[in-house]
């Protein structure tokens, strides 16, 4: 048996790293386990978005706004470590119909306290001189930010370990230690680890891990391709995307979709995202995905037709059927907690998720009501009979 801690966090992506960081801030003893190294999964295959602009009204927007406050508050002193950039987002409408829906969304978001400003065609061209001449107008979201997500995860793990947490790499969890129903630790490829609480921060793999504890957490992978251009002088100044993006985020269509999301980066490369398709963990490169990304990006920024792509990458966004993350204690397996399923918003939501979860782990009432994200919404029953017998034995 390895050393016992208050909390075991499984997964050193941004969610696990943020949870570890804030848990140590709460004075808890923390062990972080990862099957590889920090930021080896979805955190290293995304765009590093911290967005309010694409959120629907409801609990996710509340969590977003809370998390934004954590990025700017608790984590402000570390901004430079992860290239925090308040670049601002712009949504562009190129059709009358999408302009109308954009205006409707803007009004709703504004009533909720989101800072958003309508851009007429002239203002839009001033903000993004290289935008398509077809653009009819847009909306500016100055609160939208970006970080380098791998650096967020790696530095939060480092800061947590400097504050006393223990990080154990290359350690895959193979099962759970139980005392009756209660989860008391994990079995791993490097022995057993005991703890008062075990937090499942395994992102796209959260469902598989939960199944080891006999509970159903329906987190599924949604594949997304992102294309990267040659380094260029600044040509795209914000995170720019099309009004259709909002509809796509909430969509449950399994087929290949691509909404143009184009943004410059400090390195000079332009990121072109992002496709969404449900193909399990298939890593086959899709010509159709690349073609759609290219077509949509050049429709938004025609100059990109003459620019070269130098690489692309893809990741698997963890999502739940109701498109809300799973955050909180799992009553079905007491001692087990989850923080996963943040879909395309995990980087932005990580800071808030980590802080709220740490408060709950420390026995405090979290700053924000996390009950909309409760694992209990997936049903009361434990997943498989055999395990239930074992748990009650």
């Amino acid at each position: 048996m390895n050393q016992t801690s208050d909390v075991i966090i499984i997964g050193a992506g941004v969610i696990g790293a943020a949870t570890a960081y804030f848990a140590t801030q709460q004075g808890l003893t923390v062990t972080v386990l990862d099957k590889g190294l920090p930021a080896s999964g979805t955190s290293s295959a995304c765009e590093g978005n911290i967005l309010v602009s694409d959120k629907e009204l409801g609990p996710e927007l509340e969590l977003t706004r809370y998390s934004l406050g954590v990025w700017h508050g608790d984590l402000a002193e570390h901004k430079k470590l992860w290239e925090f950039e308040s670049k601002g987002g712009i949504i562009v409408a190129s059709r009358e119909s999408s302009l109308t829906s954009l205006e409707r969304v803007m009004a709703a978001q504004a009533s909720y306290g989101v800072v958003v400003e309508k851009l007429d065609p002239d203002a839009l061209r001033q903000a993004e001189p290289n935008i398509t001449p077809d653009a009819l107008g847009g909306a500016s979201y100055p609160e939208d930010c970006q970080v380098q997500p791998m650096l967020v995860a790696a530095h939060l793990v480092r800061l947590a370990t400097e504050a006393g947490a223990r990080f154990v790499a290359d350690t895959a969890v193979t099962g759970f230690l139980r005392a009756g129903k209660r989860v008391t630790g994990v079995t791993t490829t490097r022995g057993d680890f005991a703890a008062g609480a075990v937090v499942n921060c395994t992102g796209t793999w959260a469902g598989e891990l939960a199944a080891l504890a006999g509970v159903d957490v329906p987190v599924l992978p949604r594949r997304g391709f992102v294309m990267v251009t040659e380094p260029l002088p600044p040509m795209v100044h914000h995170k720019v995307y099309a009004a259709e993006y909002i509809d796509n985020v909430g969509s449950s269509d399994a087929g290949l979709q691509a909404s143009p999301v184009v943004e410059g980066t400090p390195s000079g490369s332009i990121l072109i995202g992002s496709t969404r398709e449900r193909v399990g963990f298939d890593r086959t490169v899709s010509i159709d995905a690349l073609r759609l990304l290219a077509q949509n990006a050049t429709a938004l920024f025609p100059f990109l037709a003459e620019v070269k792509a130098i690489r692309h990458y893809h990741g698997f966004r963890p999502y739940c059927p109701d498109h809300l993350p799973v955050i909180g204690h799992d009553e079905r397996a007491p001692g087990l907690w989850h923080a996963a399923g943040h879909e395309g918003a995990g980087i932005g939501l990580s800071a808030g998720t980590g802080k709220l979860l740490a408060q709950a782990l420390a026995g405090m009432t979290p700053d924000l009501d996390v009950s909309p994200f409760t694992p209990a919404r997936f049903g009361e029953q434990a997943r498989n009979t055999s395990h239930r017998e074992e748990a009650t034995a």
Partner: protein
Amino acid sequence: MSTKAQRGAGGPAAAEQPGSPQETVTISFDGRPLTAAPGQSIGSALVAQGIVAWRSTRKGARPRGLFCGIGICFDCLLTVDGATNQRACLVEVCEGMQIEGSCTPDDGSRA
């Protein structure tokens, strides 16, 4: 410097080629007319004139020219007849070619 490099460029391997055509092509580099030999790469034409760097790096503004010489490293990028980021080690000179380096980093002038 340029005379030294020219001496290298006019070495025996070049001079002794039987049937080598003697005519030259004229290209321009950053607006300056330069003479080059037909079939030469842009990189070789520039080096023959003593120009060994034609790009500045984005971060440190360090000078760069030829390195791998075979299209792998992309250090020798320049603009050829308006086409940006072409590899000087691979593109052959031709008459009237307009070549631009980028010795000031990211000046935002390219379209």
